[in-house]
């Protein structure tokens, strides 16, 4: 099973029926699989905070949701994470491509990478860093944890995890 297939199978296993995505080269494969999965409604967003709003609505409408996004957007989603997702106590798995880590060819990406974990820690978002391909085995437990505690949870996936991009 490819890493992308395993991720989508876990989303389905945890009854996630709506996924919003903002693209990243590293996530292209998983976005394609999400789009092709019949039990998931795939709704591309134009901005990550917009996507978090859609996810909050879907949750209140009775459907579990998730967001797929790049770490460079963490800064613009702080207010939404704090005053919507956390304030109203809603679960939100965030599958995040962790650009700017080992293997990164674009220097500018490292600038945001050094702030990524600090920003998530500052707002108390439980954060998991998938670095080796085998780390994908943790996703199942991370998703269970997210819906157990009703929190936004960050899953950072770096270039080594994706075996480059």
């Amino acid at each position: 099973m490819s890493i992308e297939d395993k991720i989508v199978a876990d989303l389905v296993k945890h009854r996630i029926e709506l996924v919003t995505t903002v693209p990243c080269k590293q996530l292209a494969g998983v976005i394609e699989k999400v789009d092709a999965e019949p039990s998931i409604y795939h709704i591309p967003s134009n901005k990550e905070d917009e996507g978090m709003g859609i996810c909050a609505g879907a949750f209140m409408g009775g459907k579990r949701s998730a967001i797929v996004m790049q770490n460079t957007a963490i800064g613009v989603t702080i207010n939404t994470l704090v005053t919507l997702t956390q304030f109203y106590r809603m679960p939100l798995p965030m599958l995040i491509s962790y650009r700017g880590e080992l293997g990164e060819p674009v220097a500018c990406q490292a600038e945001m990478a050094v702030h990524t974990k600090a920003l998530l820690a500052q707002i108390n978002v439980p954060t998991y860093h998938l670095h080796k391909e085998a780390d994908v085995e943790e996703l199942d437990a991370i998703l269970a944890y997210t819906f157990m505690c009703n929190k936004p949870v960050a899953i950072l996936t770096d270039a080594t995890f994706w075996n480059g991009y």
């Binding site: 134009n46 917009e50 859609i54 909050a56 209140m60 409408g61 704090v82 304030f87």
Partner: protein, 187 residues
């Protein structure tokens, strides 16, 4: 008519429909004049009323009305193409366009100048976009509800505010009663 008068005139049309209400004064006015479990009040995140409402509409069958403002739509412009391309016929976006940022002291917005939100929504691909004047709001909203078609209403009104208390209800309570009401209605 100012926004609070528009909201007051719409209360009988909202009836028992689920309403997602924009942050600040619109939520405070709706809360003061007609608080119900079917109302979801936004206490933070300016701009996301339309996104939250669309999410609720896509996830279940009941009708959802998002009350938005011109300033808030301007802050989340990306929402209009998303709405246009993900049609939910149980969703109505009601933009109360008073040409100003009401909750922050009536600073003028671009929607009150050269920018037409009606034209923008249409250009984004939204199919049923209706502009109306404040006095026509109840009839326009009722027609949109009866049409069973996803509709964007841009309701033009005057700028101005009344004094209203802030909402002190706990956000989890707001969310929980809204969810339970939706769940019961979808059962």
């Amino acid at each position: 008519m100012i926004r609070s008068e528009v909201i007051k005139s719409l209360l009988p049309v909202f009836a028992d429909h689920h309403v997602v209400c924009n942050i600040g004064l619109p939520s405070q006015e709706l809360h003061l004049m007609g608080d119900k479990p079917t109302n979801f009040y936004m206490l933070g995140t300016m701009g996301l009323s339309s996104s939250i409402g669309l999410g609720v509409a896509l996830a279940q069958k009941e009708k959802v009305i998002s009350i938005d403002g011109d300033g808030s739509v301007l802050t989340n412009f990306g929402t209009l193409p998303t709405i246009a391309n993900n049609v939910a016929d149980n969703f109505i976006l009601l933009i109360i366009d008073n040409g100003s940022y009401g909750s922050t002291g009536d600073q003028p917005t671009y929607a009150g100048m050269k920018t037409s939100l009606t034209a923008v929504a249409t250009a984004c691909g939204c199919e049923n976009v209706i502009e109306c004047q404040a006095e026509e709001a109840p009839a326009t909203l009722q027609k949109a509800i009866d049409s069973n078609k996803m509709t964007v209403i841009v309701c033009k009104c005057e700028s101005g505010n009344i004094k209203v208390p802030v909402i002190t209800m706990d956000p989890v309570v707001i969310r929980d009663r809204f969810m339970k009401s939706l769940e019961a209605r979808n059962a």
